[in-house]
Symmetry: C2
């Protein structure tokens, strides 16, 4: 059985790195054939752009490096389920699969904010199929950084 | 009564300009107090990034120039209803209102492609209210460029 854990753990590590850098706790990696090709963190505060979510940043990076045909065989691993914006970005980029550890529902329980559109509700409406996996058994491991971060920062969003 | 037509006509003009530049037929403008502050076109092909939708480009530009408090009093006018990605981007940016001429449904009748998530289905789930107006009486004027463009270019998307 395919093991998603190493890549999700790398995304979770990036979510913690984002907080250390002054941003929100989200991280993502792009994987092809078992190798991490690209990494991105949330950078909404340091980048002065509230759309600089980890997945959006990763998709923009991926688009600059690879064409949609290449990206169809890639998986985007992310610490927490992508919002509607990021799910849409994954769709348009051509990325073939997305795997998340912590669900939007779990994030909502902790942070109580944001858009309430499950990633599948966006990705399953598309003309192109995108495989979605998640939440996984690492959900609580991915949620830890949210429990630490959001109670201190809710006034910022 | 507030007149949206001049700003929607400017967005429609930008959608035609995008085609002339080799991209897809979408254009958007950001307006505050009756003045156009920023303009953006689709640039998915010339920018080598399938997420370079007109609204996404405009939101990124707006975020670089203005903070969310300023953007709350701005309106994003766009030639065609934003997709789920762009609706999410508008939400996160803090932009207070969005007005579109041509609906996603009308675009779908012509182009038959893409994500099928109405902008209100994204924006009405948010913790922050975003006013949505559209489609307007300029829907067919905005649809003209789609009727010209998509039958020739469907293989590209």
């Amino acid at each position: 059985m395919e093991n998603h854990e190493p890549f999700l753990r790398e995304a979770i590590a990036l979510s913690k790195s984002a907080v250390a850098n002054g941003d929100e706790p989200f991280g993502s990696v792009l994987v092809k054939d078992g190798a991490v090709l690209l990494r991105a963190e949330n950078s909404v505060f340091t980048g002065h752009d509230m759309t600089n979510h980890a997945e959006m940043n990763l998709v923009k990076l991926a688009a600059r490096h690879h064409d949609p045909a290449f990206l169809a065989d890639c998986t985007l691993y992310t610490s927490t389920e992508p919002c509607a914006m990021c799910s849409g970005a994954i769709y348009w980029s051509g990325i073939g699969r997305m795997v998340f550890a912590c669900s939007e529902t779990r994030l909502g329980e902790i942070a109580g904010i944001g858009l309430n559109v499950p990633s599948r509700a966006v990705l399953q409406t598309g003309a192109r199929a995108v495989t979605v996996v998640g939440p996984t058994n690492l959900e609580e491991e991915a949620a830890e950084v949210h429990q630490e971060f959001w109670p201190k920062h809710l006034s910022k969003v």
